[in-house]
Assembly symmetry: C2
Homo-oligomer: 414 residues x 2
């Protein structure tokens, strides 16, 4: 009954949230931002407990880093809410409208999705982002964060619930699962009676579990085994700059590059210098035989490397016969996130753009640009790698659906 009660309360709140004016929603967002800052000391104290527990459980350093809040990170969360308040409200927009010959007026109106559940892992700032984006788009949200951040997440949600209450709005518009067991997460995935959309944010394992188990329509996000293919006549210097950026500017994120495909005819021109620069940035290189020849310190790549999203200072490199082999390789191992070709050949650029099946396809630019902020959408709730509903960075608009509004004066169908 725990999940049922939590989700049905969110469903009830949603009816109210869907009808809130933009003005009230912005007030709630700005008050929430202020409340985060006002409660900073308390949040930091509670976060220390989570961090201490995680350390005692021997969790990895990168994980501890994502879990740890600092005054700057809390300021960042508050600023994020203020930025969401400044974005246009997508709800109520009319996308389409016409009058039929019989006088019937048909219009398509943008409306909230309803109740959105988000299952995420360690970073507590997702709690604030998700609340802000869901509220602004008129949705109620049910959050299930990782068990390591549970005390922090509860404290943050408590602040938002207090602001909602203070504004006279149903506080169940934001819910957090205090029970972080797998059993309860699995029950949440089956709550299609109350939850309209489920968004998993995290590892491939989490996302696969959701695909297997959820009865709620899902939006898959964020698995990025991204490729850069350097074509025979790509500009070598640009290629190296783009690769270094896409691999090392922030290796732990989904739009970082993981495998490089190098046209065999330019292997000798690019690999020695590329290898030198990657090694200077502490990137481990795993390559095929040709790569091992040109970059003597590189390791031997295995089949598994082509399929791996490292999210780390590691890159796989493979030489290919031609663009067709590159496209085929990406089709086999890619995760439909962000894929790039470096080329000066017009026909090959068009071929790559047309034939690669991915959320974002690039010519001569870093894959790191696949991001709601970079695309100019404001904040994002994730990057969809599926084809239904939304593909690529998802902002406020992607948290809405539409309904047809039809006005008549007695029309019947003949």
């Amino acid at each position: 009954m725990y999940i049922e009660n939590l989700c049905s309360a969110a469903k009830e709140a949603e009816i109210e949230i869907a009808q809130l004016s933009t003005k009230i929603k912005n007030q709630i967002l700005l008050k929430s931002a202020k409340a985060l800052l006002d409660n900073m000391e308390n949040i930091l104290k509670i976060n220390e407990i989570d961090v201490k527990n995680a350390k005692e459980n021997g969790v990895k350093a990168a994980f501890i880093d994502r879990l740890t809040l600092t005054p700057d990170r809390i300021k960042g969360m508050a600023q994020g809410l203020e930025e969401i308040a400044a974005l246009n409200d997508p709800v109520g927009e009319f996308l389409y409208g016409k009058t039929l010959p019989n006088g019937l007026i048909i219009q398509q109106k943008r409306v909230p999705l309803g109740v959105i559940a988000i299952i995420f892992e360690s970073r507590p700032n997702v709690t604030a982002d998700a609340f802000g984006l869901c509220l602004k788009s008129g949705n109620a949200v049910v959050l299930r964060g990782g068990k390591e951040a549970i005390n922090t997440n509860i404290a943050i949600v408590k602040i938002f619930k207090d602001v909602l209450k203070e504004c006279g709005v149903n506080e169940n518009a934001v819910q957090i699962l205090e029970d972080t067991s797998h059993e309860t997460a699995n029950k949440l995935m089956k709550a299609h009676k109350y939850v309209d959309v489920l968004i998993p944010r995290g590892s491939a394992r989490l996302i696969n579990s959701v695909i297997e188990n959820s009865t709620i329509p899902c939006i898959q996000t964020g698995i990025g085994n991204c490729h850069i293919f350097v074509d025979e006549n790509g500009k070598i210097e640009d290629a190296i700059n783009i690769i270094i950026n896409a691999k090392t500017q922030r290796p732990g994120v989904c739009n970082a590059v993981e495998t490089l495909l190098i046209h065999k005819n330019i292997a000798g021109n690019i690999l020695p210098e590329l290898g030198k620069q990657l090694i200077a940035k502490n990137v481990e290189i795993r390559g095929d035989e040709t790569v091992n020849q040109y970059i003597p310190t590189s390791l031997k790549a295995t089949e598994e490397d082509w399929a791996t999203e490292y999210e780390d200072y590691i890159v796989a490199i493979k030489t290919v016969e031609n663009i067709d082999e590159a496209i085929k390789h990406i089709g086999t191992y890619g995760t439909r996130h962000s894929e790039c070709i470096i080329t000066e050949n017009y026909t090959n650029a068009q071929k790559f753009l047309n034939e690669i099946d991915a959320a974002a396809v690039y010519v001569n630019a870093s894959t790191r640009f696949t991001d709601g902020g970079q695309f100019g959408f404001g904040a994002e709730i994730g990057i969809s790698t599926q084809k239904l509903h939304a593909r690529g960075p998802m902002g406020l608009k992607e948290l809405t659906t539409t309904k047809y509004v039809i006005m008549g004066n007695g029309q019947v169908r003949e």
Copy 2:
């Protein structure tokens, strides 16, 4: 391996289908229409086998009717394909484009979904519709029809495969499951490695089975427990005309009305005449106590009636205190398909349009208009009652997704 082979062949064909020019796609559609007519005699002969088997298995008359092909129905299928050829090709449209301050060009392009699987029941004309709509939108399609129509469906798909071959196009762009067992259908629902989207068309039982079992993103279609609420000051004559149309013009379809909600203050004004007209059209009435009083031949409605999509000459009628009770009833029992208010009160009309959560919300018109053809979209693949991706009648555009196409000249992220 059966499903894997069938679906992976469709996936391979899809790469080719996605790139076909509109001209070639239209040629295939027109040749397919002609081939249906040329093979009419053969199709009818094979359909007779299916009909004979179904009759021997004691299948209901309405089912036999949907299963049976006639020269006119085959002409209708051919005409449907010609109409799809005449529709605009949605593939390749650019929805959005801008140049970022750093010179990066970002554009959003409409592309096919990929491989679409459709699970449907008795009507063999779905085979032609689905093939036509999927082909025109650049998708490969895997069809799983009901076991009763299997010989007819195989014969029709064979005709389309022959046309594809004749046009030099991969014939696996249309696949039919010759094995119609439930086990194989369940395997199809798990083939997310090859199938991008699954569309179930049929009974609530089929759709619930898909929700429970599918690992492929789904679009739910067509469950319609639709309501008409006659408000206190609705025009009585219009209300009766609209109700008679919505209930009896074609009772077996999803946009027909199933439950009427009557404001208690006008029960005496509308129920006697409404009852008379419904009974004259052979509609069975199941009502609450007030309804039973005003329409003496009406039966007593049970809780189950409020939740039932009859798809038949039966209607449930309930009197309500006010619009709030009507909205609450629809929220509890509705299936988010098509809902209507009959009113002259501006505030109530707006309230109903805003607060009812459904694909189509009506003021003063028959729910029977929720239809791709009526909305002017051309043919439809179904009516989505879910919120992700598409809501309401789905035409060609709803069988596409988008991708971001990004063109740079060496840009890296700072």
